[in-house]
């Protein structure tokens, strides 16, 4: 199915099935509400087939271009049916399973994630490991000492900023399996069951009062060897393989969400010269981010590898998100600062969340370092 046809049929279907997918709570709702809503939407859309386009048949998909699932995520975000930050986690989890998990495992677990039966998280960051991912220390050791013959691996250590860990059934976990100095050569990925004995989750309260991410502790957690993703000590390839998805479909969904926020802002903001400047600024930034992301996805669909140049996309989308909420903060100051009705809560939560746009997924400074080193080719610092 081509992308334009998919888009128009999808929107037609969503119009016709509005009651089946619309939230049953007033925005923003609690995180529990939004998670339940997302799982419900995934379930309905999986049954109707929409959730399966763009994924290969080996994992329960219906095939077709990955752009189809990008369109789906954007349509759901534009209609406020799901929170794109939560929904698009699929994009950084499923491709890993498809490319690196044993086929039998992927065939069983991926449809459970896509259909909303399960929810997974991604255990990458650690207290001492932010942008410098190759420094991670959470350790996995082969039970019995021999990596080749071990039936079980034992995990000890800590992860942090793990989104939705307290809701998750499984975790794509990066561990240290080489020497501490082995850096990117000594990392192994596992698919770990979150109900395994020894896994403890401690949610962290964010600046907007929500508990979207958590610390996760692993104390002698036994993981079967058939849950190794990719090669032992080959985990870096997995971490790197996620980038194209994070920088294409995830961004596209976030951008759709931000257009929706701007639309809500112009629906209520009084018309004035100052409002025109702030809204125009946000619109310009958002359009630039979308235009760039569009070009990136066309390159990806044409088979081009994505790399350091997508740091430009990241800078543009972070700038756009903050421009939208800059306009919100200045045009609706009482909603953001004082008022306690649901609509104001939603503006406040979004405003505060946007402060992280230049922090998560690699800070604005790290992105500029990457652009300088690898795109502008300025040499080492």
């Amino acid at each position: 199915m081509d992308v334009a046809q998919f888009r128009s049929e999808l929107h037609e279907w969503l119009d016709a099935h509005h009651d089946d997918v619309a939230p049953r709570f007033a925005a923003p709702g609690t995180l529990d509400d939004r998670i339940a809503q997302m799982q419900r939407v995934k379930s309905v859309l999986f049954d109707a087939g929409w959730m399966r386009y763009g994924w290969p048949e080996t994992v329960g998909g219906l095939g077709g271009s990955p752009l189809l699932r990008t369109e789906l995520g954007a349509a759901l975000a534009a209609r406020d049916l799901v929170d794109p930050g939560l929904f698009s986690l699929i994009e950084v989890l499923v491709p890993t399973l498809i490319d690196f998990a044993p086929t039998a495992l992927a065939r069983v677990v991926v449809p459970r994630l896509l259909s909303g039966v399960e929810l997974w998280c991604q255990g990458f960051s650690e207290p001492g490991t932010g942008s410098d991912l190759a420094s991670l220390a959470c350790r996995a050791t082969p039970d019995g000492g021999d990596a080749a013959s071990a039936a079980v691996w034992v995990v000890n250590g800590q992860k942090v900023w793990t989104s939705l860990a307290q809701y998750a059934d499984r975790c794509v976990l990066l561990t240290r399996t080489g020497t501490p100095e082995s850096r990117h050569r000594g990392i192994t990925a596992f698919l770990v069951d979150m109900d395994a004995p020894g896994v403890t989750v401690a949610p962290i309260e964010m600046i907007n009062g929500e508990r979207e991410f958590a610390e996760v502790f692993f104390d002698d957690v036994a993981v079967p060897a058939d849950r190794v993703l990719g090669e032992v000590n080959g985990g870096w390839a997995i971490a790197m393989s996620i980038l194209p998805f994070e920088r294409s479909s995830c961004f596209w969904q976030r951008i759709a969400h931000l257009y929706r926020r701007l639309e809500q802002l112009v629906a209520v903001a009084p018309r004035s010269e100052r409002a025109a400047e702030l809204v125009g600024e946000a619109y310009l930034r958002l359009h630039a981010a979308r235009a760039r992301s569009r070009a990136t996805q066309h390159r990806l669909a044409a088979g081009a590898p994505l790399g350091a140049e997508t740091s430009i996309d990241k800078v543009l989308i972070a700038t756009a998100e903050q421009a939208v909420y800059e306009a919100v903060g200045r045009l609706l100051p009482e909603a953001v600062v004082l008022d306690d009705d649901a609509a104001s809560e939603a503006w406040r939560s979004g405003y505060l969340y946007a402060r992280a746009a230049t922090i998560y997924g690699g800070t604005a400074e790290i992105q500029r370092n990457i652009v300088a080193r690898r795109v502008l080719d300025l040499g080492d610092e």
Partner: protein, 300 residues
């Protein structure tokens, strides 16, 4: 449509022609610019204006684009009345005219052709005398109607052309600043190794790439709003790149010995033609607030 190798050949020919000739208009005449415009308007505009910007060449080919968009056959002795600085509405009696005013016989306005004898011209020196711009006042007179072309479509094409020119200029500014940063040494190492300098260059490149992307959407989407967004992005990019690159170029960029100043001044001028970053941004914002809608332009 041209294919990639034809585009590359044309771009090389335009660069070569601009590099050899003192007078950019003559060089573009020689390689058949107006024929290219008629045959392949999209590619011709992108390539010629990009090259003009990159070379900081002054030419009056925007006249041809506007004339052609108004449905009139472009010719070297026909110039056009552009809206006053910073604006994009249909100019009635006052506006700007390019360097072509010096030898043109007629002036095209949105409502028709008038002889140059009916146009009061005042040469503009300003920040960029090389551009050869004029302020103009047309003595009201009934001219030949230019055709039923919507002015907003004319503006959109002109905005895209200017956007490509600013894209070419700003990318060159980044190249100049990058080269300087790699060459200039302080404290025993190239200043390109200082993170503060690297971040400025990265920021400048991000702005140029955003402009390229906005121009690509404006080329694919017929909605004139896409062209306005691209032109506003161009003006903003010019401002960001101008300030970051000036700072990286430091002392030498403050002198007329280095070519940077020409690009800065030219892009400041180009920003004001057919709507500036400031006026267009406010106009777009007001359009959103008055329609209570946010158009999403350019699909996957």
């Amino acid at each position: 449509m041209m294919d990639a190798s034809e585009r590359a050949m044309l771009a090389a020919a335009v660069r070569d022609a601009l590099g050899r000739a003192d007078v950019a208009d003559a060089a573009l005449d020689e390689i058949g610019w107006r024929e290219m415009l008629a045959a392949e308007p999209h590619d011709a505009i992108r390539i010629v204006f990009g090259a003009l910007g990159a070379a900081n060449a002054a030419a009056s080919v925007l006249d041809d684009v506007v004339v052609w968009a108004l449905g009139v056959q472009p010719r070297p002795d026909l110039t056009v009345l552009l809206p006053p600085f910073g604006t994009w509405n249909t100019p009635d009696s006052t506006g700007l005219v390019s360097a072509r005013a010096a030898h043109a016989t007629e002036l095209l306005t949105a409502s028709g052709v008038v002889p140059m004898t009916a146009v009061e011209l005042e040469p503009v020196r300003g920040i960029d005398p090389d551009a050869g711009l004029h302020r103009a006042r047309v003595t009201p007179r009934r001219g030949t109607p230019a055709g039923a072309v919507a002015w907003e479509a004319v503006v959109a094409l002109g905005q895209r052309a200017l956007g490509y020119q600013i894209a070419g200029a700003t990318r060159t500014m980044v190249d100049l600043a990058r080269a300087h940063a790699l060459e200039r040494e302080q404290f025993g190492r190239p200043i390109a190794r200082f993170q503060a300098v690297r971040h400025r260059l990265a920021e400048a490149l991000v702005a140029v790439e955003a402009l390229d992307a906005a121009l690509a959407v404006a080329g694919d989407v017929a909605d004139p709003m896409a062209a306005a967004l691209a032109k506003a992005t161009a003006g903003r990019t010019a401002r960001a790149v101008g300030s970051h690159c000036q700072q990286v170029l430091a002392g030498i960029g403050f002198t007329t010995e280095h070519p940077f100043h020409r690009y800065l001044k030219r892009t400041m001028l180009l920003d004001g033609l057919l709507g500036s970053a400031d006026t267009l941004t406010a106009g777009l914002g007001d359009a959103l607030l008055s329609t209570r809608a946010v158009p999403v332009l350019g699909n996957l």
